[in-house]
Symmetry: D3
Subunit: 198 residues, 6 copies
């Protein structure tokens, strides 16, 4: 499996030591928490200020709330990434989703087809909304927003579903425009009987 | 994770003991080799003669040949299943592909996007052909066939690429028409550091 | 019109005399019943065991049942072939459909647009299901299955609608991957005031 | 087959005797030449001045020229109608195409898939252009126009390919918006061994 | 901005003086009413008889009626042109729509997305019908026609919605096949605080 | 035209006075520069920290560079917004594009169809890349990136094309998910002979 660890980037990838302090701190924290630096950080660090700005926005969107937990937010990331066909995000956020759900089978199923994964009404409504905003945003209506409120989300949480989905439409495209490849470590994370660290 | 073992079928699933001898033999062999009976067998056994006929055809297509090995044939199954979005086949044949490749990272990548998985020219040509035959069969030309011969396949192997892709267009649709769900066991198979039995 | 009788195949077509006994028997029976050997048999005989296996499965699917007769089964073949744009199957099964319906005008209409052909509720439900399973199989739900039961089909017959549609998704692709051309004889069969033998 | 002769129109169909002189003349001429009045005339006569204006434009486009004969012009009508899926035009102009080609097998093939009908380079270029102008007009470039000149068409004839294709994009939509059904007589016209009058 | 006044045509554009009397009259009237000759006239005059025939049909369709006024008819032209992505018609009929509505803001909005322009039920139904007839004509049903009658249109006006939409499917394609460019004058017409002559 | 000034938002729009200092400063600066507060600010201020984070990222992307000027960056915004059909961004960034180009006719043309707007090779390559990343990101290859370098962009500028396009895929979706409507003032900006303030 040697070779799977490259970032894949079509752009130059700077040496970590050349990065600004804040990014070196970010990399260090990731290494501590995950055991490695996600390739999205390495690849995006070609433009350090952009990485900082993107990440400052992105991280806000994964803060859990009462009716839209950490697993739900990863689920939106994965559903959008299926619709766009983004290899990097499906592997990396697929691993995070399996861990947050604490259910490797369900997490894997959502990464292929949320419609047949046996989700409850709340999660199905969230997935349907995120998929529609990704694939046919022009057709989105106020009735689609209402489906989120009807399953118990607050207006703020409904907004979050939209903003997370919108964010992964940005992130998926950055991953595909740079040819970002997922770190090999994700593949074994949160599998049945396997490594459960994420 | 209880609950993940149901077949999911929207049709009645017969008791194994009520099946004809040849199918009980098939189930027994599967249980011996895999440790469980794949849900495709259970679900399809609603029509025992159909299962026998389908499987007699299907099994021929997975016989390896010189330039189209067992992993290549699973790869075609997976690429067609991505194009059709078939949960059952992506999980079940994704596991088989990881095992046949002996590379869980590469196998997982192909199950999300073969184009970014770093395949060589032979495998890329096979994937491109199978995807095109699945998505826009009317546009297939003699030049597409030639791309398979150009990477070293014989005429018989080129035919096999087509017939395997065609077969999974049947199989994917049976899986989705019946709502077949993959056995939970597949998720942990052939993962990095995990269970490697397939 | 000379030239219309070639098989069109991009693969070698074996001489009939070189084929195994069972296939020579199949060809003889076809010649007796139709007056010619359908090109699908000639083309597929490049791989004799595959032809035998495919045909053994395929022929089961055209056995009529109480609420899904021979014409209905040809109708599914034609509707799937319209969705995939398969010249061979539209000509060959278009002829069979005209004959089984005993209505050359209706049969021709279905081969272009079943929605405007004036079909009754049972046939419309069958066509809608087969078209959806062909074009957007991932979107198929239990409610789609219910539409078949609601117009009087048994569970076995509903399964048959799915399996016939799935089979023609295989067959259409084999026809297009090999460039199979329909025998010229089909064009005149079961036309108003014309040859009615099929 | 009783019932196949209705126009199918969702709009009122005026009595022929109530129509203006010029249209009654048009109907009489059609009856003389074809043996019946095409349903397009009956249906469109709900708006007599529109029918006159449409037909005055339409008839200009079927005048044959040196490198774009009557059969070629019907071929464009049929190729556009396949792309739009227009039952009325496929049946009515399919019959005209079989007659103008004096080849019922080739005409039928073009009505299902021109790409596999074995057309020569000139006709293939014409079909490809008409199909592209129908399906993705925004993508049409000067290079597409050049393909028509390269196979020997004059600038006027290249314009005609475009204008005929554009006209059938109008006509197909009027047929589908009114639910126009083709006269049953077309089905038997210009078939092998059958009625050859068109 | 010099250069914006060319017709853009990929076909020869005849000198106005060489045109038949009726077309020179048409050009003169346009120059009098608009201050310039629309490029559609110049480009189409490569085939003078075709221009006359097309325009004789086209002009009938813009005659206002009680429940389908001049602005509504321009609105249909614009909605069809959005669906087809026709630059010429969006600029030229966008200007006409702003003027007929006497609302430059609303007219501009419709030229980008009628669904979010805040239209009333009657106009929304008309736009939805025209868009559907353009994009998926085969799916149009009698129920779609009924939506037009339900908002108060007569059968004749409902027919007009269909015929105008069908006509712009022709016109858009002629504009794109010839590479017709809109006259620069349209851009400033009927803008807030700007030139209001159309 | 009263009524065109509402934000259209399906979410609550906070009173400006209730916003954090930094956003009140942002609003004040906008009012000074444009004469009004863009509705995107008002609508997004339902989540003040999100607006701050999004805008901090977004503003970086509009900094002009040697081969990718302010007009080019607005052009990317508009091309992505055409592909997604985003009313808000087409009106607001359409105005900015007309102003930055100092060419109201060209700017309007790009907002409907960049392919027929007569752009030079550099701008055409940028538009083609942005459109592809928006519509079929999975198909983007290293060769697509090379097309940007071939017309003279640096690697950093090529990255910017991707990141701007990715950002508008986020922004378009936030605009459509909230039903953001463009301020009426944009319609008259930078028009021929009209108000040129942006």
């Amino acid at each position: 499996m040697s070779g799977h660890d490259e970032t894949g980037s079509w752009f130059p990838v700077p040496d970590e030591s050349a990065l600004p302090d804040n990014l070196r701190g970010l990399f260090a924290k990731a290494r501590e928490r995950l055991g490695f630096v996600p390739n999205v950080f390495r690849v995006y660090s070609f433009r350090p200020e952009r990485l900082s700005a993107w990440f400052a926005h992105y991280r806000q969107l994964h803060e859990p709330s009462e009716h839209l937990g950490a697993a739900d937010r990863e689920m939106i990331a994965v559903v959008v990434s299926v619709a766009n066909g983004c290899l990097y995000c499906l592997v990396a956020h697929g691993a995070a989703l399996r861990a947050e759900l604490d259910d490797p089978v369900l997490g894997e199923r959502i990464s292929y087809d949320w419609r047949r994964a046996g989700l409850d009404a709340r999660r199905s409504a969230i997935c349907a909304y995120a998929e529609k905003l990704t694939l046919t945003p022009r057709d989105l209506t106020r009735a689609d927003l209402q489906t989120l409120l009807d399953v118990g989300l607050t207006l703020e949480e409904a907004w979050d579903v939209a903003e997370i989905a919108a964010m992964y439409n940005l992130t998926n495209r950055m991953a595909m425009a740079t040819n970002m490849l997922p770190n090999a470590e994700y593949s074994g994370q949160a599998r049945p009987g396997g490594d459960t660290r994420t």
